[in-house]
């Protein structure tokens, strides 16, 4: 566990930088995390991040790429274009959510 500063706020994150307190997340913070991992946020990125956060809020678990496609209407190919190399992990990090664990 570690503490990181985003937008002047102290935020608890795990060893890999994933948020332990999703409620402290904001759009500003998202931009900062994205910059850290080399992504410039666009409307398309924000659509993915909003879906992840809303779906997590209503279901209590992180969505899979299949769910993002079927329920969120975002093609997997687009996810890879927007968040290259590990789209779900990167998108969850920017969205201030936990690291996606693989289902069993």
């Amino acid at each position: 566990m570690a503490v990181k500063m985003y937008s002047g706020k102290e935020i608890e994150v795990n060893d890999e930088g994933y948020f332990l307190e999703p409620d402290k997340w904001s759009g500003e913070i998202a931009t900062e995390i994205a910059t850290e991992i080399g992504i410039v946020l666009t409307e398309e990125h924000i659509k993915v991040i909003d879906f992840l956060r809303n779906d997590f809020k209503s279901k209590g678990s992180l969505p899979t790429m299949r769910r993002i496609k079927k329920v969120g209407g975002i093609q997997t190919k687009d996810l890879y274009r927007l968040f290259p190399e590990g789209p779900l992990k990167k998108a969850c990090k920017i969205a201030g959510l936990a690291k996606p664990a693989s289902c069993i």
Binding site: S61, T64, M65, R66, R67, K70, V71, T76, K77, L79, Y80, P84, E85, G86, S102, C103, I104
Partner: protein, 411 residues
């Protein structure tokens, strides 16, 4: 007469019929089980068919043999579940009303979900599954004449039924072709959408090491987009390509079409289920068991066995208007064949990862957890008899409790 209706006479449904038949008051309750298919497959046996260890006759029996006499067995296709009417519609048009419904319709592979995989020129010719009897038998034929080349073992997406099976398959293939004397002519690759060899970290380390030791190349984080059936190549969303001469794939696993048609499932047709009581999240008189649930537990027969004991208790409580018990802890117990007549045994639940130790009794075992041994392999082979004679009949397994125990384990 009140009715408990069970949908599906597979592993979980059959166990529930046996459990409930022994507990229920047959004067006021009728139990009905519905399944269109006649044959019960011993699915863990499919793994051994491609290598010629088992044949078809080792893994099939009649479903009706395992349904208790006091339970009515209807062999007909189910058209629709109508939760608002507490009713099941059958294909021939008649309906059955229920007081309590238990959904045990399982899951199945859906090769069509991946572009190109189900193409006629490769499916069951150069690309195989071993999760169906047809796939396992076709692969047995292929392996009889396989002279060498690129053998790719592949998982499309999680979750899958029996998450250890593809690893076991890779280990057994290594062993099989070594004994045949052509292992050096085969490039064996294990391709997974996960970041490592297995879902559970402890296991992933041990099993990843084993892959390496056996000369099986691991390709993690491979998210398949399509199969090029002419070039015989799998292609990922981020444009990685792997060529194959023989592809052994675990296609996308989904719940039954009935669940989708009845609008009761998630994006994979799995039913949202309360993870400790097995009550469905949307209807209080509907319970879900086995592979049909959306639970983060393994989709495996051992899990269905542990669930059946909890669910029997909860169905009895439900009909007596008593509170449900949150007793299912995600307990799973699996043998992992590692080739050359050895196997691993793992035991875990929602919260505790597989660890080393002895099972089922501390110190004396006799079986070792998370370690390769001959005895574990014999345990796996003996399990077929336990399955037919103990498990399906809903009888307790001596020494193996429903909730996972931590005794004898190195935590």
């Amino acid at each position: 007469m009140k009715k408990i209706v069970i949908l599906g006479a597979g592993t979980a449904g059959t166990m529930m019929a046996n459990h409930l038949s022994r507990k229920i008051n047959h004067k006021s309750w009728q139990i009905i089980i519905i399944d269109e298919h006649q044959t019960h497959y011993y699915q863990p046996g499919f793994l051994f068919i491609p290598f010629g260890t088992y044949s078809k006759k080792n893994v099939i029996k009649k479903k009706s043999k395992f349904i208790p006499k006091k339970v009515e067995y209807i062999s007909e296709k189910i058209e629709l579940i109508e939760p608002k009417k507490n009713s099941i519609k059958l294909q021939k048009g008649n309906s059955i009303e229920y007081n309590v419904l238990i959904v045990a319709t399982g899951c199945k592979i859906v090769p069509d979900e991946i572009e190109g995989l189900a193409d006629e020129n490769i499916w069951h010719k150069d690309a195989f599954d071993f999760y169906t009897i047809e796939g396992a038998l076709a692969l047995q034929k292929k392996f009889e004449n396989f002279k060498g080349g690129k053998l790719v073992v592949h998982i499309a997406e999680m979750p899958i039924k029996c998450p250890v099976a593809p690893l076991e398959f890779a280990f057994l293939a290594d062993s099989f072709f070594t004994k045949k004397g052509i292992r050096n002519d085969i490039e064996l690759t294990y391709v997974t959408p996960l970041s490592g060899a297995f879902t559970k970290q402890n296991c992933s380390t041990v099993l990843g090491y084993l892959l390496n030791e056996k000369g099986i190349k691991l390709v993690p984080d491979f998210n398949i987009e399509k199969v090029d059936s002419n070039a015989k190549r799998i292609i990922s969303y981020d444009e990685k390509e792997i060529d194959f001469d023989c592809l052994v794939t675990i296609p996308t696993n989904m719940g039954d079409d009935l669940i989708e048609n009845s609008d009761m499932g998630d994006e994979l047709n799995f039913i949202p289920t309360e993870k400790h009581t097995l009550q469905s999240k949307n209807n209080e008189n509907i319970f879900v068991i086995g592979d049909a649930t959306d639970l983060p537990s393994s989709k495996a027969g051992s899990v269905a066995h542990f669930q059946a004991e909890v669910l029997t208790h909860n169905v009895m409580n439900f009909i007596r208007n008593k509170p449900l018990k949150p007793d299912f802890d995600g307990h799973a117990n699996c043998f992992i064949e590692s080739g050359f007549g050895k196997a691993f045994l793992i035991d875990f639940n929602y919260d505790v990862e597989p660890v080393e130790g002895k099972f089922p009794f501390p110190i004396i075992g006799p079986m070792s957890l998370l370690k390769e041994s001959r005895l574990n392999h014999f345990g796996k082979l003996a399990f077929r008899h336990i399955y037919w004679n103990v498990l399906l009949r809903g009888l307790p397994m001596p020494g193996i409790p429903t909730q996972m125990k931590t005794w004898g384990k190195k935590l």
